[in-house]
Subunit: 501 residues, 2 copies
């Protein structure tokens, strides 16, 4: 197998790489190859089939920011011309469930949504209107709010607000002690639309350029500059010589390149090594592990009032006296409440988001979103469905109770389908944290991180010929499919501008 | 009566003038006079007594933006040290009432709050993220949203969203066809707190400097520069010669000075005339007439679930086909829906906000907020309580119906107090639009206005000795009591800095 000469090599056939290929093809590029380590295209877009052929997106599953999201607007145009339903807006009034009190959303004694909103303003004020406030964890900034506003909060508001505001963990994919306060709340540019399903988008974009460009099961091991060219070597011994390389592997995979001594799956050796700006930027950006568990039921026996249900972590009474008695914020940060466990020794240590598909799409399943470190724990169970069910059973039963249904019966390993109780037929769980080509979900900000550093470093490129795209290389749409898509366009345009002067 | 010599003359004893006086006194100024045209201090802060001595604020009645509002933070400190209740947070989940459908808030078929939120994002995107979008009315930008997003909206959403979003009229004090789209949505810096009552604040600040500084019933007629001094002449023939003058009269009153030919009550003649920057700025700022009607009942027979209830204008079916069939936005702007009446020929032409005091303070009264041009109509009825009741009766009955009470019985002119229905005992109505010293409520933005122009012009002053303060002279807190308060501090500090070098 000799060296193949190409204009452009794209590494990774996620939406960023696919869109880059499509854009290059549209721009007249004839010689391009798309190297994909997995045996499928799509990357962290992955639609799977479950019980009775029901489909679920185990990676990204929404169009976010639909006022500005160009991928969405493209899909909306297609939906209109084809008459096909390609998404469904599923924003809702979230139901909030406390294990002991039951529903506490839109509660006129607690006003937790109004306080969460004020908390967002408080955080915005700390970081965008004051100057020089040091970053801290989302947990600690909540404690600062509680401390400073305690005169204006009831005991129950102090007790429950932290647990409610933790819903943000299900956006960032990490627990509140790891979320950067500065980065915690963010604006939504329009409603969110559930995609039906991302496989259609992957296929549409994946077919918009010559199919022989795509090489599956082709893991890249090295990227080496050679004069005005870049040589890409694959695990199978293939070599590609190209004018440009667009690297779209996840940030977690790129990070492996920093370690010279270890050779792990997925790692790409850069020669010369990643430039110092990129290396340094890894100090100010992190990566999270949003995970999902799909609970598939025989039929829907529960309320379809809301698509979004959050089961809250157990609220702690102790926080009230700790907030009331604290001499200052720092004391509160060191309190037993703040230092409580966020490890998966109990399912009630975490807020969980249950997406009630029965309402939005008619499918009698819940897609549950979870966060690091819970995701790693659940994904470490290696798909042991009975253990996973057992772990989440208390939360599921509480959820069903609030939604007016009986206890869940586990019939995953029987043919039984009839019951007056919800009959669980199957569980599907993500495995992103163990997947050697993703090692988690998407970029995230820990306290002190400066997300702009990495975006600036990667958009500048390794050099003029080795470029980067993906959700971690862009600010607007960071962590989102449409951000990755836009970054793919951006880098393809860079190549086109530099090759067609 | 000779010319009295003073260091500073303050014109207007509203909160801006009072706070300026307090600040000057604290800064060591000994010779100051506060000239007030009315026979009371407080200006557009005015607490009145009603049935059985119940108190209402007919001007400003909330602390807004309580995270940043320094007047609030001062009051909160006082409340804490005195143990006195000086305010109550009364933000709530608003109840939205359509005359035909009843409650349409938090409705899982309509999702109007979620759409209103998306509309806010849409408007923000139009004016802060795109460049060069010309301003238009709030009504027209809603039509633009409906037109552009019609594929994603149900018929009922198209029909009801405009009426719901019009709640903003009750913030701006003007109807949606007059509200600047660019200025329509604005951020709230924290929750709102109902003040108990503003008279306490007026009295507290009004007593924090020598009482003989205050001259009531003293209308200023002219302000004339004379060398390094300013001579202020009053209607009664008084003359004050001062180093500095701080003019805190409302923007509406200041505007009278532009017309050389007319002599009306309240008008101040400037010699030399108002500078050209200020004159020009009047082209890009407007003034609104928020009004209030208090409905006082014998006792509370209705639900106290929410403090905030909005009765919506009658929604129009025609908008659905007009939005669906429009070839473009402009066509929609010219449609019969857009051109419908906003005149007070029907009470159902306007959204109205009913503040349910029975919930927040236990007082069985509703404070109803209304907007221009309805305010002018109602205030023109000269306090004819039976006519006012008759006009609002359909809305009141619908409100009571939704809140689980029977039809209102008018017992304003009898001694009867017992009934299974809500017994109306009194009506109190504002009169700001007829008051020669306010001529309305507070500054507002019409389409095309640039509020910064006037603020910049007035903070620069007429010259180095004639200064301006008030709600219309500041961006943060514009239109609010705390903005006026901060502007008073600002101008007092200006004087102190220039007199104590």
């Amino acid at each position: 197998m000799g060296v193949q000469e190409k204009s452009v090599v794209i590494i990774g056939a996620g939406i960023s790489g696919l869109k880059a290929a499509a854009q290059l093809y549209g721009g007249g590029v004839k010689e391009c190859v798309l190297l994909e380590a997995r045996n499928r295209i799509g990357g962290r877009l992955n639609t799977v089939s479950g019980y009775k052929g029901r489909k679920y997106d185990m990676g990204a599953s929404w169009h976010h920011d639909t006022i500005v999201n160009k991928l969405f607007l493209e899909e909306a145009e297609l939906a209109k011309t084809s008459g096909q339903k390609r998404f469904v807006f599923d924003d809702d009034y979230p139901i909030l469930i406390d294990d002991f009190r039951g529903r506490i959303d839109y509660n006129e004694d607690l006003y937790l949504e109004i306080l969460d909103n004020e908390l967002a303003t408080f955080v915005d004020f700390e970081y965008r209107q004051k100057l020089g406030t040091p970053d801290c964890s989302f947990r600690d900034i909540i404690l600062k709010y509680l401390f400073e506003k305690r005169e204006f909060l009831t005991d129950d508001q102090i007790k429950y607000l932290p647990e409610v505001s933790r819903y943000l963990e299900l956006w960032h994919g990490i627990s509140w002690d790891k979320i950067s306060a500065k980065d915690s709340f963010f604006g939504h540019q329009g409603r969110n639309a559930l995609v039906l399903h991302y496989d259609k988008i992957v296929e549409r974009i994946g077919r918009s350029f010559p199919q022989d460009w795509i090489k599956l099961d082709t893991e890249v091991k090295a990227i080496r500059r050679e004069g005005n060219s870049v040589v890409v070597s694959t695990k199978g011994g293939g070599q590609y010589k190209a004018d440009y390389v667009i690297v779209t592997v996840p940030q977690s995979i790129l990070k492996l390149s920093l370690d010279n001594d270890v050779d792990v799956e997925g790692k790409i050796e850069f020669d010369p090594p990643l430039n110092s700006r990129i290396k340094t930027a890894f100090n100010t950006i992190s990566y999270g592990s949003l995970g999902k568990v799909v609970f598939e039921f025989e039929k829907c026996l529960w309320s379809t009032k809301s698509t979004k249900i959050v089961t809250l972590a157990h609220a702690k009474d102790e926080i009230v006296s700790q907030v009331r008695n604290a001499a200052n914020w720092q004391q509160l940060v060191g309190s037993s409440f703040a230092q409580r466990s966020v490890s998966p020794d109990s399912v009630w240590n975490f807020p969980l988001l249950f997406v009630n598909l029965a309402k939005s799409t008619g499918v009698p399943s819940f897609v549950m979103l979870m966060q690091e470190p819970l995701t790693q724990f659940v994904e470490s169970l290696k798909g042991d469905k009975n253990r996973i069910f057992k772990f989440f059973n208390p939360v599921l039963d509480r959820l069903m109770d609030v939604l007016g249904a009986g206890q869940v019966v586990n019939e995953m390993h029987s043919d039984r389908v009839d019951s007056t109780n919800p009959v669980l037929k199957n569980i599907i769980v993500t495995n992103w944290s163990n997947d050697p080509f993703s090692l988690g979900a998407y970029s995230a900000c820990h306290p002190g991180d400066e997300p702009l550093d990495m975006v600036t470093a990667l958009t500048a490129g390794q050099d003029s010929r080795i470029r980067f795209a993906g959700e971690h290389t862009i600010m607007d749409g960071a962590g989102c499919a449409y951000g990755a898509y836009e970054a793919g366009i951006r880098e393809a345009n860079y190549v086109l501008e530099n090759t067609n002067p």
